[in-house]
Symmetry: C2
Subunit: 457 residues, 2 copies
Amino acid sequence: MFDPIEKLKEFIRQPSVSTDPKFHAGMKGAQEFVSGLLGSMGFAVEVVKTERHPIILASRGTNKNWPHVLIYGHYDVQPADPLNLWKTPAFEPTIIGNRIYGRGAADNKGPLMTNIAAVASLLEENPQLPLRLTFLIEGEEEMGSPSFPEFLNRYADRLRAADFVFLSDTALPNENQVVITCGLRGLALFDVHLTGAKGDLHSGLHGGVLRNPIQALAEILATLHTPDGRVNVPGFYDEVLEVEPWERAELKMLAADEKAYAEFLGIDTFYTTPGFSPFESARFQPTLEFNGIGGGYQGEGTKTVIPSKAFAKISCRLVPNQRPDRIKQIVMDTIRARTPKGIKLEFVDQHKGEPYVVVPPDRSNTPKDQSPVLAQAFRAADKAVASVWGRRPLYLREGGSVPIIAEIKRVTGLDSVMFGLFLPEDNLHAPNESFNLDVMKKGTETTRRILADLASR
Amino acid sequence: MFDPIEKLKEFIRQPSVSTDPKFHAGMKGAQEFVSGLLGSMGFAVEVVKTERHPIILASRGTNKNWPHVLIYGHYDVQPADPLNLWKTPAFEPTIIGNRIYGRGAADNKGPLMTNIAAVASLLEENPQLPLRLTFLIEGEEEMGSPSFPEFLNRYADRLRAADFVFLSDTALPNENQVVITCGLRGLALFDVHLTGAKGDLHSGLHGGVLRNPIQALAEILATLHTPDGRVNVPGFYDEVLEVEPWERAELKMLAADEKAYAEFLGIDTFYTTPGFSPFESARFQPTLEFNGIGGGYQGEGTKTVIPSKAFAKISCRLVPNQRPDRIKQIVMDTIRARTPKGIKLEFVDQHKGEPYVVVPPDRSNTPKDQSPVLAQAFRAADKAVASVWGRRPLYLREGGSVPIIAEIKRVTGLDSVMFGLFLPEDNLHAPNESFNLDVMKKGTETTRRILADLASR
């Protein structure tokens, strides 16, 4: 009999920090643990080498007439520092009340084990389950999945044989409300560097003579938004997908409290895209944000220099159907056009990610062509969540970005059903990360029902 | 017979770095060397204790009918780091060609020794010279003269007995052209700190919801100048002294080359107060400059945060008759009025300095009441420079700030005759500082003649 909590404990005990070479043994241990577990459940396991950490590809079921679900997860975790802030050892799973504590408990070991447990339970009941399943479990998610694009291209044909992707690596707003994430924002990031004089200058001897790059930077950045808070770059909104009424209605059902949200953020005034509530603005509208700025003297006291250089780090969150490359281009062109004489401009390109959206069936007024298996999965999820949690799921786009979801779609054409399982209080990426065992139990039962529904097709 | 070069060598050998407690012995050595030297010349030397480094006050002549010159200088020097960039030992004076190398050679030991040598020569000729002389030599100039204001207040009555201040702690544009500095810009410095949310936020989850303090900072700073380069703060120029035609004419005689200046700065376009050449703008007009800016993530790569905080360091260079306190007030008020809702604003006050101007006689169309001894000193300097250097001095305001000059004027009413002796190539505050011995020789003769002229009054 498969004991999911014991298995999760074993998994957490492997300190699989992908970004730190000191954790090589933990990465290997976690990979071998998952591979072994899936092997013992009858999966054919392939460990795909990459430049850093291997990807586990494990399949069962070969009948081409069976529906085929690709389950995504990752076995790597964030670093556990600062260790002194942990109340229990980061890599020694500890159950307190209805929570299991440990690095990776919620991101992503707990939710992944929930999916594995659902599959194990189904296969124990019926080893001949008429369902093809492929686990795709990577070890570089916390590093930004650097090996994933190449892997996708290499395995595209094989992955394309699936009907859709199922994953639990998104959030629930609270313990009683399931959210199925059906949209993610994309990203376009780059840095702006300005140079004035060839070196820092004495502001007494030379002040009043030349352009200060901090002033030029402030003046350029200040032009990038309208006073009411829209991005002031020609063409920026051209490709933005219209928000459908059902999406706004769904979000209203979340019954999120603006006052509590403002308190959580520590602000007294929201500043949103005009015509959108804070919750709508973060999900449905793009942004142009300054993540960092620097230049000149930043220490204590004073240093009366006219600095030679100043820079800003810019990121745009994109919504469907904005294209990161085009957005980078028009924002850079706009900045170039607004850079004054006497200032040299350079860009440092950073990464990017496509936005993503999937429309659940029976919602949109303009439904898209959708795989019948995917549509069945959405309907099965709706039913399963309603009976296990006592309330139907909400279908919401999120403000965050999971670039691999759009990348899978782009390369293989597969859409994703994102069944969120971690809670705001789970402390992802922070000390004292934990996972709610009640959520794990209900999640396992929900996933079991969704997969059983598909197998009965 | 007084040998100025040997004395200067002895002086340089004392490593008198005021900011570094490790150089305590060097500070003491330099102070005792100067005190001893002046004592041996017949001066009554008083070593005035301060919280850090003592001030030397040395006087000769008691006849109240004699003119009284207060000669200012400082015995402390800048740190010599980075030592590995020195071609000769920093504290072992070395003569190569017509230059003496060593830390403090030009700032201020060489010029101060030039003045002492002139006095020594006069007193050797005539021990009964009918001139009162007071040397005021401080040891904290390179730290910003923190003990000076209190000293000034304490000794105000005694210092007020002088007719004017004479000093050599400013620059010559080249070896053939003496400049007597007759104006300095003042300073008003403070930092602006903005806070948005109570902590850094994930730009995916929360982007589009709240004001980013970097954006707010850029938008505020961008309002502080007009597009043509004036400071855009109501009332900022209200007290700015009109530039007189003779001042522009004097500056033209400097025959400074704009192209060479642009090349030196490494820029292709000047950006000045409208209606002023670069050389005029730096001397006659105030500025509002951004010396530093910071906020959010400044490291390699990306971090998609909405930062909680951003700040800028602001300094205004002021011209007569702008008042630093008033300027701070109106700039802060303007920034406050332009800070958007949702952003908390705090100022950190930094230091300030009054601007200074003295008008040489026979120049201005609207001459000021001036001490007859000061007027005589200017006329004597004019004559002495013309015969020793073969060209009359130029009377120019400078863009830099020497706050003690305005402070002496404010507390004692004394004006200053600033007879510059260091050259652009002297490497002040940098490795391989040196002083031109031909300048020293001509400077000594010039000062000798000026003082002799006053003594013949």
